[in-house]
């Protein structure tokens, strides 16, 4: 079931987008106007993986902000069976997809994984991620140079009765 991001999530994305744009002015981000990440670019996005917040990571990776789209179908559990192994997958009906990335908002660093989707590869990925706590999982799809996103909150807590 795709959950359209609630108004709060969109506003939050835009707000964060605005905040990071402001930061740009301070020259804090080394390469503000980084070119959209070309598909063939094999370089490991070291900088993006260092960013703490989700907006900064998106900025470092793609150099632009994403807009929510119901063409991006993010599949994640409601309550994670275990924070260490959370099965998350995304499919999309968008075409000319060149990259798909996953962000876990409140993890130590938001960017979890980023996939290059060359020509001829189906724009869909399934993987298992670690989540520090209950937070939003954001999937970003780069299609034809523009960014589309889907967000879903996943509840995470420990198991067992204590000890």
């Amino acid at each position: 079931m795709t959950t359209l991001p609630g108004p709060t999530a969109t506003r939050r994305l835009i707000l964060q987008g605005a905040a990071s744009v402001a930061l740009l002015g301070l020259g804090n981000l080394p390469f503000g106007a980084a070119p959209a990440r070309a598909a063939a670019n094999d370089k490991y996005p070291e900088e993006a993986f260092k960013q703490k917040s989700e907006a900064d990571a998106i900025k470092a990776l793609y150099g632009q902000t994403a807009e929510p789209s119901d063409k991006v179908k993010l599949d994640a559990p409601e309550i994670a069976e275990n924070g260490g192994v959370v099965p998350i997958s995304v499919t999309t009906t968008l075409d000319k997809v060149t990259s798909i990335s996953f962000f876990v908002a409140e993890n130590p660093s938001a960017l979890a994984a980023s996939y290059t989707i060359p020509e001829g590869t189906i724009p869909a990925v399934a993987n298992r991620l670690k989540m520090a706590k209950t937070t939003n999982v954001v999937a970003i799809v780069e299609a034809d140079g523009k960014l589309y996103s889907a967000t879903k909150e996943v509840k995470v807590t420990v198991g067992g009765c204590g000890g």
Partner: protein, 103 residues
């Protein structure tokens, strides 16, 4: 030693579905060991799939990818019997590679 990569690639029609499970600790660098010292970060950074001489899928991973990582994707343009080369490198310079036949 058996390879650290288990891969299953099955072609039906023009679409080949690929599943990979890799044996790797994927340490985040935030976890302490029994003696209370931090276990240094040790995680796969890049995982590449090549078929017929072309990259069909490249994964850039951070520390948030689960231990013994798993990934599934599909791609077009390959057929039964083609070779699928899978290789990964981690932040400590470790690496492994395997070539599997698409069944």
């Amino acid at each position: 030693m058996a390879s650290s990569i288990r891969v299953r690639a099955t072609a039906n029609g023009d679409i080949t579905e690929v599943q990979a499970l890799i044996q790797h600790p994927m340490d985040t660098g935030f976890v302490k060991d029994a003696k209370g010292e931090l276990i240094p970060a040790h995680y796969i950074q890049q995982l590449k799939f090549e078929c017929n001489g072309k990259d069909v899928f490249v994964a850039d991973w951070g520390t948030a990818v689960s231990k013994d990582p798993y990934v599934k994707f599909s791609f077009k343009g390959a057929k039964k019997g083609d070779d699928l080369k899978v290789s990964w490198t981690d932040n400590k310079g470790g690496s492994d590679t395997i070539t599997a036949k698409i069944s």
